[in-house]
Amino acid sequence: PLSTPWRGGQGVRPRRAGRSEGKVQSCALFLLPNWIGGHAAYHPHGVQAAHIEGLWWLMFWVCSAVFVAVMVALGAAITRPPRESGPPGAIPPERHRRMSRVVAGAVGVTVLVLFVLLFASVSTGRAIESLRASQAITIKLTGHQWWWEVEYDDPVPEHIVQTANEIHIPAGQPVRVELASADVIHSFWVPSLHGKRDLIPGHSSEIWIQADRPGVYRGFCAEFCGHQHAHMGLLVIADPPARYAAWYAGQLQTPSPPADPLLQHGRQVVEAGPCAICHNIQGTQASGKLGPDLTHLASRRTLAAATLPNTRGNLGGWIVDPQTIKPGNQMPANSLSSEDLQAVLAYLESLK
């Protein structure tokens, strides 16, 4: 449920709730040395992000030291009383020699420090690349303007799961994510777990991620991809392995045809109406591929690429007027009569 705290991972809360919390958090940023909020590159929940966090703090302290050293030198230089008089001109030779030595020394230290940083960077790079497993879940993630298509790969076609905008993974296990783009360049980024990797048309690639602890982690599209780049989020939900397995099993179910007349009507509207052109709902005639798969829509926490909490009100608002919520997105407004809309909502909400 939406109100569960997300143990560090940045999830989506119901609108307006939790604002004050956000405020406290970012005010604290200034006061505490440990300005580590709940959902950032420096608050890792996966091994790779943790490695990178280590590198970050190394960089942070080394660079801070360099900065302080330079500022101390600068401060001393501008507050020292002048040592020379007479007309302007070159620095006297013996002072010049002394200063040359100091400058050379500083350059030497710089080179040393840089070597340390280079070494740290390369070895961190090795470490984050070393996450692998022979038996791992493979998720095919395809970027669309402006949502994420998700497919769990499996040699058995019946075991393939299709979903969108929300990835479930078992906590504590490496997972392979195969990246592709259907249109322009996007970038897959879940700060709590790992750095980003671009989805480039014509260049498929893969990235391994792992969440050390269960939680809900927010991801972003990090490469500018047009109008709704801002609203192209996704959730990574790390579950304990058993919960994950249960979720997977649930996703494999084809929703059974509804018995309730209201739901039946809703389903009929979806199948006969425009929705079917773009959306797929397993076991119905809706098999469009232009929009997110809706087969288990109700099991997802958010709508429209982690833009809205998945509530009935938001769903209704989205279906009727998606262009106000995400101006420029690829889903047109739909004018449904209020009975039809209620039926559609009831039906979609039944798609657990």
Partner: protein
């Protein structure tokens, strides 16, 4: 002002009547053209330099106003001030304006104004080309803004990644406008670069051997070389993009064998050197300002020059650090990390040399020096975050977030705009003949400095907290609202500071105290002539006996005589030692460069709509070229006859 008076003796004896006669002749020969026609035909480098500077500042104001609009939009979550379409147009126009229409042209403009004065010559090597460059730049800028106000401003980011900028995902003309604006500004910059290199190599005052060239001039030389070797990449890539969009080529279309990453390689092969093209002249300004305000020569001349050259070279080996997230092979990435980290060495050398100059110098805390100090403070932060970004793993986290936005504003504003503002203040008396107000200068300095830090420091934290760049809004629950609000407040303080600076510039033009030739007691040749300089710059071309030319002007330092004053003659010296070699005659005002730029403008602007733009534009281009080069026999050359 407070400077010790130094008798330069370069100005002639007013009582000497032969001398006065000579000056009258020079005055007539080099007279600025008058009237509108004359304005368009002017080829004097100080006139064109000022046009560059003023035009670039206007674009800075436009880009700054766009920045403020973005900041207003981002001030709170889910703000409705700008819709996504407009936001995208505005950040793209902001980035493109600041990089292509403000930062590069203003640096080149300062070069156009001061390189000839600093090396002691009368005009640029190719005065007509100089005028042409300016007009092409102006056309490019006007074109971009005309399109912008017609709602056809580019909206794919300042590096216009394909396929988003390609024919399929950006129909309409917006990206074409961007591509042609690039073409205009590149043509202009390339022409200026060639001009500056030639001027600095061939027209130095006798005695100004390579190791006596003022550091600012060295900086402009290195910058020009970087322009020459970097800009062709973006000219070519923007040509390819235009072709992909207009005649269906497939350079970037993976379906037909093209490659989206090719664009990124080409763009950043240019784009990384580009940032040093902006930064290196700024370091030249820093070295220039330091000497008079510490009353001593800049420490480590050789080290500084070699650092500039090294930066120029290494700068071509870093481009992939903008592409780490594309997932190129690890080994290659490590190479680029190493190269990016290596460039901290020449930057460090420069910082240390400047600190050594300050150490024990007799400092005068006037506005230009304040900007230099602010530069050191800010640039070191920006440089250090650059080193962080160079580390691949860390970059994977903060790439394309506000951390990067913070990095590059620290280096661009702290590293280039602060020295630039200091430099404008420093050179203002030379350009206008009047002193700017020190009080207003200090006020604007503090507003700019503090406003800047308030604007951009929080952005580091936002980036680490996961805020991607180029988002038109964000959700309230991200918790990014407060820092963004702070940043917006800072931006307005910064904007106010810029406004005060501009007011100071305008007001002092009218009410500033007369400056005299050398108000700051400086060491470079531009201060040996009057303020503003006469059209011929120097009545007698000076000779140079030491690096700090004016501080070491001996009683018996000779001046050059024997250049004819009845035509635009100037002295060519050899490249290494600046020994006098021969005399040449420089062209006077002519309208053809203006017409040529119009022809080029027509070619590229009509070219967006139809390939016929090329033949249509070719006609005015050809006519102007013929007019330009047609011998007019007024250059004092010997006419040859066929030997029968």
């Amino acid at each position: 002002m407070s400077a010790e008076p130094i008798d330069r003796g370069l100005v002639a004896d007013p009582a000497d009547s032969a001398d006065a006669e000579d000056r009258r002749l020079l005055e007539r020969t080099w007279k600025y053209a008058s009237g509108l026609w004359g304005w368009l035909a002017e080829v004097d480098h100080t006139k064109i330099g000022v046009r560059y500077i003023v035009t670039a500042l206007i674009f800075f104001a436009l880009g700054g106003i766009e920045a403020l609009m973005m900041r207003v939009q981002l001030a709170r979550p889910e703000n409705g001030f700008l819709n996504p379409d407009l936001y995208n147009e505005i950040f793209t126009t902001h980035g493109s304006t600041m990089m292509f229409l403000f930062a590069v042209p203003i640096m080149l403009g300062l070069g156009v104004y001061f390189v000839p004065l600093m090396v002691g010559t009368r005009n640029m090597a190719f005065p007509r080309l100089n005028a042409f460059s300016y007009y092409v730049y102006l056309i490019g800028g006007l074109f971009l803004y005309t399109a912008f106000f017609l709602n056809t401003g580019p909206d794919a980011g300042w590096f216009a990644y394909v396929p988003l900028s390609g024919p399929q995902f950006s129909p309409g003309k917006r990206v074409d406008v961007w591509a042609q604006m690039i073409t205009f500004t590149e043509i202009s910059s390339l022409a200026v670069a060639v001009n500056i290199v030639t001027t600095a190599f061939k027209q130095r005052a006798p005695g100004m051997s390579l190791n006596r060239i003022p550091i600012f001039v060295w900086a402009m030389i290195v910058t020009s070389f970087m322009v020459i070797f970097a800009m062709p990449a973006v000219m070519l890539s923007s040509l390819m993009l235009a072709l992909d969009r207009l005649v269906d080529t497939h350079f970037f279309n993976p379906a037909e064998g093209g490659d989206a990453l090719l664009w990124q390689h080409l763009f950043w092969f240019f784009g990384h050197p580009e940032v040093y093209i902006i930064f290196i002249p700024a370091t030249g300004i820093v070295s220039t300002i330091l000497a008079p305000f510490t009353r001593r020569e800049v420490f480590g001349y050789m080290a500084l020059v070699l650092s500039l050259v090294a930066t120029g070279f290494i700068g071509f080996g870093l481009w992939v650090h903008h592409m780490f997230a594309t997932g190129l092979p690890q080994l290659g990435q490590s190479f680029f990390t190493a190269a990016s980290i290596m460039i901290a060495i020449p930057s460090g050398v420069q910082i240390f040399c400047w600190l050594a100059t300050l150490w024990g110098g007799r400092l005068r805390f006037k506005v230009p020096l304040l900007y230099v100090l602010a530069f050191i403070f800010t640039f070191v932060i920006g440089g250090l975050t650059g080193v962080m970004l160079a580390a691949v793993p860390l970059d994977l986290q903060v790439h394309d977030t506000f951390f990067v936005v913070a990095h590059f504003h620290y280096v661009l504003i702290g590293g280039a705009v602060f020295p630039l503002l200091g430099g404008l203040f420093y050179w203002y008396p030379k350009i206008t003949g009047r002193m700017p107000s020190e009080a207003l200068g200090k006020l604007s300095f503090w507003l700019v400095f503090l406003g800047f830090q308030i604007t951009f420091f929080p952005q580091h934290i936002l980036g680490l907290e996961g805020m991607p760049r180029r988002v038109y809004t964000y959700l309230p629950e991200t918790g990014w609202g407060d820092l963004n609000l702070l940043s917006t407040v800072g931006a307005f303080v910064l904007g106010l500071g810029v406004l005060v600076f501009v007011i100071n510039m305008i007001a002092s033009k009218v009410s500033g105290l007369p400056a005299g030739d050398d108000p700051w007691g400086s060491d470079t040749l531009e201060w040996s002539t009057s303020s503003p300089p006469p059209p011929y710059n120097f009545q007698y071309i000076p000779t140079v006996g030491a690096r700090a030319a004016l501080w070491n002007m001996r009683e018996d330092q000779p001046v050059v005589t024997g250049l004819r004053s009845d035509r635009r003659e100037f002295l060519i010296t050899n490249m290494m030692d600046a020994d006098p070699d021969h005399r040449q005659v420089s062209p006077g005002p002519t309208i053809w460069p203006f017409f040529l730029s119009l022809g080029v403008g027509i070619t590229f602007i009509v070219g967006i709509f139809t390939p016929w733009g090329v033949p249509i534009g070719a006609v005015p281009v050809a006519v102007s070229l013929v007019g330009w080069f047609w011998p007019r026999g007024d250059q004092g050359h010997k006419v040859l006859k066929e030997k029968s």
